[in-house]
Symmetry: C2
Subunit: 220 residues, 2 copies
Amino acid sequence: MAAHGRRNTRLSGDDRQDAILATAEKLLEERALEEISVADLAQGAGISRPSFYFYFSSKENVLLVLLERVISEVQHRVAALPRNFEEEPAAAWRHSIGAFVDVFAAHRAVSAAAMTARLRNSDVHDLWSKSMQSWADYSTEVILAERARGAAPEGVEAHDLAVALNLMNERVLSAAFSAEAPSVNQHNVLDVLAAIWISSIYGTGTIGPAAAGRAGSAAP
Amino acid sequence: MAAHGRRNTRLSGDDRQDAILATAEKLLEERALEEISVADLAQGAGISRPSFYFYFSSKENVLLVLLERVISEVQHRVAALPRNFEEEPAAAWRHSIGAFVDVFAAHRAVSAAAMTARLRNSDVHDLWSKSMQSWADYSTEVILAERARGAAPEGVEAHDLAVALNLMNERVLSAAFSAEAPSVNQHNVLDVLAAIWISSIYGTGTIGPAAAGRAGSAAP
DNA sequence: TGAAAGAGTCAACACAGTGTCGATAGATTG
DNA sequence: CAATCTATCGACACTGTGTTGACTCTTTCA
C-alpha cells in the first residue's frame, strides 16, 4: 500500500507518524492529554516540536486517529458476532456488550482520553457521537425486533431505552477501567451491564411478578 | 451571619465574591470553563485580574464552590422526600430520581462544567466522587431492604447494580441537558431512567415472564 | 552528473493565558 | 491620627501553542 522507498539515515514520514501515535498512546497510559505537551510527543518521536506540526495539526488530532482505530476495532468485533437473538437472547446481548468491554479494556488509555477530549474538541466529539448513534440505532432495531416477535414487552420508547443503555455502558466502562471512586469492579462489569440491559428490555418496567406477593403498579 | 459593616464606595469582599460566582455561572451557560479566562471572570465582576486571586485560587476553585451549592441542593431535596418504598416503590424511586433531574436541570451549566472539570481537577473530582458514593450507598441500602422484605429478587450484587444505575443517571442527564447527539429527550428522561431502575431492581435479570410464553431461567 | 523539486527539519517569533510580588490606597479601630 | 486590615492592581516571570521562513537532505530526470 504505502509507497516506501527511502532507507536508513533519516526515518521516513510514515515511520515518524507512527512514532508520534505510539508515543501518544504510551504517554496516555500515564497521564491525560492535557498534561502531555506537543513537545513531549515530538521528543518521544525523536523530532523537534515544530516538526510535529508537519504530521498532525494538533495533539487532539493525534488522539482522533487513535480513536478511529479503536472504534473500527469495535465495529469489526461486533459485526463478526452471530446475531442469534431469537435462540439465545441473553447470550446474544451479553456477547455484544462483551465486544465493547474487551476493546475498550484493551485501549483504556485512548478511550479515557477520548471521553475527556470529546468535551472540548469538535472532531473527537463528532466521531464519538456518530459511533454512539450507530450503536444506539442498532440496539433500537434489535429491541423493536424482540418486541415484534413477542419476546420483549412494550414499554418506554425503544430508541430512548437504547440510548440510555448505551450511555450507561459508556460511563460504567469508563469508570471501571479508570478505577474511579464509585465504580463497578472490572470483573463484574459485564455481568452487571448485561443484567440491566436484559431486565430493562425484557422486563415490564413496572413492579410485577417478583419474589413475594405482587405490589400494585402505579402506572395507568 | 456575615459580619458586614462597610458601605458605599468600594464594594465589599462578599459582594465581589458573589459577583465572581454569578459571572461564572452566567458565562458557563455560553461556553466551557476552559474557554473562560480568569480575565473574563475578573472583568465580569468589575475587578482586575490579579484581584481575582484575592478571592479564589483559580477558576476551577470558583466552579468547586458552585458545584458544592448544587450538590447540597440535591441533598436537601432528596432528604425531604418521604421514604415510602414499601407502599409505593415505583413512585418512591421515581421521586428520588426526579430530585436529581430537577436540580441538575436548573443548574445544567454548572453540572456540565463540573463533569468536565472533574477529569482534570482533583478537588472537583473528589467532591463529585464523594457525592456519587453517598448516592450509590443510599441506593444500595434501599435495594437491600427491598430484597430483604421479598419485594425485589436476588440478582447481581446490590452495590454494583446501584453504582451502575447512578452512573447511568449521571451520563444520561448530562447528555439530555446538553442536547448531545444521541440523547434522551429531556421530557422523557425521568420516565426512561425510572423504568430502567425499576425493572433492573425488581426484575429477575434473566428472561422470564415476558409477553409471550415464559422462557426458562438459566441461573441455578 | 548536477540542478530542480520535494520532503523533512528547526530556530526564532508572536501570542495568549496563568499565577505571583510588591507597592499602594481606602476604610476601621484604638 | 497612626496602626492595621482589607482590597486593588501594574508589572513580571513562566508555560505552552501555533506559525514563519530559511535550511538540509534525498530523489529524480534531463
